[in-house]
């Protein structure tokens, strides 16, 4: 027996546990930009807290993965998006009902809000089960909606709205204007004068003629003349306007809380899937990661950094995908290679993949087997002036110390040129020791560094290297591959290209 529906995001709603504030690593991993972009246009739902609150249990993650998989199916997403559109339209009606000042207008907007709401619920309740969702979340929702939409309360509301709308639509009246005198009356079949003019000039008609119709603004407010006319129309039709008035009093609280919460929370998925869709359209893969609680095997095929890919797509660039594979006891990825070769991007990618997996969402990779970390810590080199060098190293070390204190064997630590603000010798020494600590801690770690020695510390360490085009060493491939650090090879190749190796220079200088 499935549980009673509580929330599309949590099988068991845990009130008060959402984090309003952005996690500290968001900007290092550029997740701030990702979340901002994917939420744009959905501000009204206040979804950020959901993106700031990772899950911990694989069960919670799969609850969401199931829902997301359902929503990836066009026929399911379609009905949910349709529902969302209607609910949005409903809120617009309500906002006008609140803003406008004439009672006859407020009433009509309120009626429309209720009408749109009824259609939203009715259509979702009818369509969703037909699309056969497989997730626990959407199935429980279907059951809930079946009960709600079948209730006396709801169908009564629906019927009342229908009758009122129909009667109002049937009201046709005439307005006669002569100078400053206005008369309002019931329409009695008077002929359309435009038709007559059209007939008279028909013999001159040619193909497509320019349209002279003016498009008017359609502001919701009425002028006082229109208000007078509306009042007179109401006087000509006392029955329907009387019922409208009574409806608005009685049906003030028509909105169901669970339905309203679903409307908001499902946007968490829709926002992300829409965002992911842009990448998929460009041929980039997304997948549902297999998640495990313990640090075991970690594997990613064709992963990419979402934030970078987003800007590359905007500029028409192509996105390079990278993978890695850690088998027990491997836990530390040390990334070396040429500058601007994609090392930082790789580190970010690893962080993003883990975080997005912990939100229960598909991740930017073709295949992923990931551990859900209990926390993510990042330490990225920041652009600083030389004068701050000394204090910067201190700040860095303080921060690194904090990280090591807080992290557990379940954590993910992403270090990016963390010890670069000191001499090579010191940096190597600090790095070696730090990685030794992380190794003993058992945490998963990505470490971007220019210090090759760190890549060969022990069996927990895996060396990843940024590569260049063998034909032209000045061209980066942005591929990060598993191999021993390359030392001077890259620098020499580049020198040859410009004829600046030892032999080249000797020959050239001799001439």
């Amino acid at each position: 027996m499935e549980k009673t529906f509580q929330s599309i995001l949590f099988e068991d709603r845990r009130a008060g546990e959402l984090r309003a504030a952005e996690p500290t690593f968001f900007s290092d991993l550029r997740l701030d930009a990702v979340v901002e972009e994917l939420l744009s246009g959905r501000e009204e739902y206040d979804l950020a807290p959901f993106f700031h609150t990772p899950l911990r249990e694989p069960g919670e993650v799969t609850y969401r993965q199931e829902v997301a998989r359902d929503l990836e199916r066009g026929e399911v997403r379609e009905v949910v998006e349709d529902f969302a559109r209607r609910m949005r339209a409903m809120r617009e009606c309500l906002s006008l009902a609140g803003k406008l000042h004439h009672e006859l207008q407020k009433q009509r907007w309120f009626l429309d809000a209720a009408g749109v709401y009824c259609e939203a619920v009715r259509s979702l309740a009818r369509e969703l089960p037909q699309r056969e969702p497989a997730s626990r979340g959407l199935r429980a929702l279907s059951d809930y909606l079946a009960g709600y939409a079948g209730s006396e309360e709801f169908s009564g509301l629906e019927e009342e709205v229908r009758a009122l709308r129909e009667d109002l639509a049937g009201v046709v009246y005439t307005v006669h204007i002569r100078g400053n005198r206005v008369r309002v009356d019931t329409y009695e079949g008077e002929e359309d004068y435009g038709d007559e003019i059209e007939r008279v000039f028909a013999r001159f008609a040619r193909g497509a003629a320019k349209d002279h119709r003016v498009r008017f603004r359609d502001p919701p407010e009425l002028s006082h003349v229109e208000e007078r006319i509306l009042e007179l129309v109401a006087r000509l039709n006392p029955d329907v306007f009387g019922r409208l008035d009574e409806f608005c009093r009685r049906r003030r609280d028509y909105l169901d809380e669970t339905v309203a919460a679903f409307d908001r929370e499902v946007q968490f998925y829709l926002a992300y899937l829409e965002y992911a869709g842009r990448f998929r359209e460009a041929g980039l893969p997304f997948c549902y990661p297999e998640v495990s609680e313990e640090v075991g095997e970690t594997r990613v095929e064709e992963g990419f950094d979402l934030a970078l890919a987003a800007s590359l797509l905007r500029e028409g660039g192509s996105v390079v995908k990278n993978g890695f594979h850690l088998r027990h006891p491997e836990r530390i990825l040390v990334v070396t290679g040429p500058n601007q070769g994609g090392k930082t991007t790789f580190a970010r990618m690893v962080g993003q993949l883990h975080y997005l997996a912990s939100l229960g969402l598909p991740v930017p990779a073709a295949e992923a087997h990931l551990h859900i970390p209990d926390a993510i810590f990042t330490h990225f080199e920041r652009e600083e002036g030389v004068e701050r060098l000394r204090s910067k190293l201190e700040d860095d070390l303080v921060r690194l110390h904090e990280i090591l204190r807080e992290a557990t064997g379940e954590s993910l630590i992403v270090l990016n040129e963390s010890f670069s603000s000191t001499t090579l010798e010191d940096a190597a020494r600090i790095g070696t020791d730090l990685l030794g600590r992380i190794e003993r801690l058992g945490a998963l770690c990505v470490c971007v560094t220019f210090i090759d020695e760190l890549a060969t510390l022990g069996e927990e360490t895996v060396s990843m290297v940024g590569t260049v085009d063998p034909e032209d060493p000045s061209v980066r491939t942005f591929r990060i591959v598993r191999k021993p650090p390359e030392g001077l090879a890259y620098a020499l190749a580049l020198a040859r290209k410009y004829g600046l190796t030892y032999e080249d220079l000797k020959r050239r200088v001799k001439r």
Binding site: G194, F204, H212, V225
Partner: protein, 497 residues
């Protein structure tokens, strides 16, 4: 109401785009002097003439339809010019009717449309008068039908009805609109209605039992603005319909002007050439398949319009020929001949007379020119690319039945390469049913084609008299090993033979 003076079954489209190769044709065939003569200072006639020339007809029947209408025009030039003036005055009159300050309000749109229609009523009556008076002197199908339509569609009864409606649209008894309740109970779907006379009279004394009324106080400025706005909503459809009617009638006059502009252009050209004593004839268009081309005294009309005195015409008998190779002396009239063939073809295909004593030719599916571009000398390395690029673009558009005029094509590389490329192009074109006229110095090319002794080819050579002087005539003749550029060279450099 349709004009149908240019085509039997459709309107002439002066605004339609010109063919992609317009620029090449204009430059290579020297269209400018011809167009200027037709325009005689009227830019609009210029545009129409250019459009008609470059966008020719494709069936002999269509060509004859225009030729007959043009023959009427040559006879009754003054009547045609007068109808043209009526059209121009209607168009210019319309432009002068002021739009008003609130040009985007249906009230002012309606107001202007009513004024314009009132003015057009006068022009339509003039047109009717001309038709009544002169219809009998025109014998072509095009003009016969046009006058008949004017007399039928612009009857006295009809013109009176139009006048009455223009009066109604002043709304001296107020405006009656119907409406419904739209979003937020705002009135929508305002429609102007024809009031029911009797009921309106019943309503007029205020305090009656039907409906409710109110009066906007005199000083209520925003109230009056609201009334205006409401009228605008209600008048939107009628303003649109009325303005469109005015546009339609304007469109009729514009089309009339455009279609007559072609004939007026022809009249202008006829007057110019007649004054110079140059001959003109109506050509005989033949179907594409016949590959007909025979002419007597065919001359380059643009050259004639640009020089003093008369120019030399050529006779040509190229019936059944798919390829005409033209070789021979520089300054010997080869380019002039090539132009005269292209121009006469364009003129015939738009229904005009042609500059010749007689002219009979198959129509073609399109005229294309591929001329050597002298000014490209400066970018030596890219010239062959450029040439091949242009030929490639021609190949994209030309089809069977097309006419390709080549002037010194493929001369931007050495003779061997150029000849080989040209041979391949020419062969492919001719075999695809394109008629090729090729002026060339490439002896290798001309000779190798000549040696095939193919009956579908004609070889012409610029005539050179024994004393070395040119006659500017082209006569059948095999290609000779060198062009007479050697003459010039020898003379200038004083080289001994």
């Amino acid at each position: 109401m349709r004009v149908l003076l240019m085509h039997r079954d459709r309107d002439f489209d002066p605004g339609g785009g010109l063919p992609e190769n317009t620029e090449d044709l204009t430059r290579d065939l020297g269209l400018e002097p011809l167009l200027q003569a037709m325009a005689s200072g009227d830019d609009f006639v210029y545009e129409v003439a250019r459009k008609a020339l470059l966008d020719g007809l494709s069936e002999p029947e269509e060509i004859l339809y225009r030729q007959r209408a043009l023959a009427d025009c040559l006879e009754e030039a003054e009547v045609v010019r007068e109808i043209h003036r009526v059209a121009i005055e209607a168009i210019e009159g319309e432009r002068k009717v002021f739009v008003g300050l609130l040009h985007d309000s249906p009230r002012s749109i309606l107001n202007r449309a009513v004024q314009v229609l009132g003015m057009f009523l006068g022009h339509l009556r003039r047109l009717r008068g001309l038709a009544d008076e002169h219809a009998g002197s025109f014998s072509s199908e095009a003009f016969g039908r046009f006058f008949e339509m004017v007399r039928r569609d612009l009857s006295d009864d009809y013109l009176a009805e139009v006048e009455r409606h223009l009066g109604e649209l002043e709304f001296s008894r107020g405006m009656l609109f119907s409406a419904r309740l739209g979003r937020g109970n705002r009135g929508r779907d305002y429609v102007l209605r024809v009031p029911r006379r009797q009921r309106l009279l019943e309503r007029l004394p205020f305090g009656d039992r039907s409906g409710y009324g109110f009066t906007v106080p005199d000083r209520d400025v925003s109230g009056f603005r609201a009334l205006d706005e409401l009228s605008d909503w209600g008048l939107n459809r009628v303003a649109d319909v009325t303005a469109r009617s005015a546009d339609n009638i304007l469109g009729f006059f514009e089309l009339l002007r455009a279609e007559l502009a072609f004939y007026v252009g022809c009249l202008n050209l006829r007057d110019r050439l007649a004054a110079r004593g140059e001959p003109l004839c109506f050509p005989t268009p033949e179907p594409i398949e016949k590959k007909a081309l025979s002419a007597r005294g065919l001359y380059d009309v643009s050259l004639s319009l640009s020089v003093e005195g008369r120019v030399v015409g050529n006779d040509i008998d190229a019936d059944g020929k798919g390829l005409v190779m033209i070789t021979g002396a520089n300054q010997g009239g080869k380019s002039t001949f090539l132009r005269s063939v292209g121009l006469a073809q364009l003129m015939m295909q738009c229904g005009m007379f042609v500059p010749a004593g007689s002219f009979r030719a198959s129509i073609c599916s399109g005229v294309f020119t591929h001329y050597r571009r002298e000014e490209d000398e400066r970018m030596r390395s890219g010239r062959l690319d450029e040439e091949l690029g242009r030929m490639g673009r021609i190949a994209e558009r030309i089809g069977p039945g097309g006419m390709l005029l080549c002037n010194e094509s493929f001369s931007s590389t050495n003779e061997r390469e150029g000849s080989e490329m040209a041979r391949q192009v020419v062969r492919a074109m001719v075999e695809s049913g394109v008629r090729v006229f090729f002026v060339t110095h490439l002896y290798d090319l001309a000779r190798s084609l000549y040696d095939r002794r193919d009956g579908g080819m004609l070889f012409l050579r610029a005539e050179r008299l024994p004393d070395g002087s040119r006659t500017f005539r082209l006569l059948p003749g095999e290609p000779l090993p060198t062009s007479y550029g050697w003459d010039s060279y020898r003379r200038i450099f004083d080289v001994r033979a």
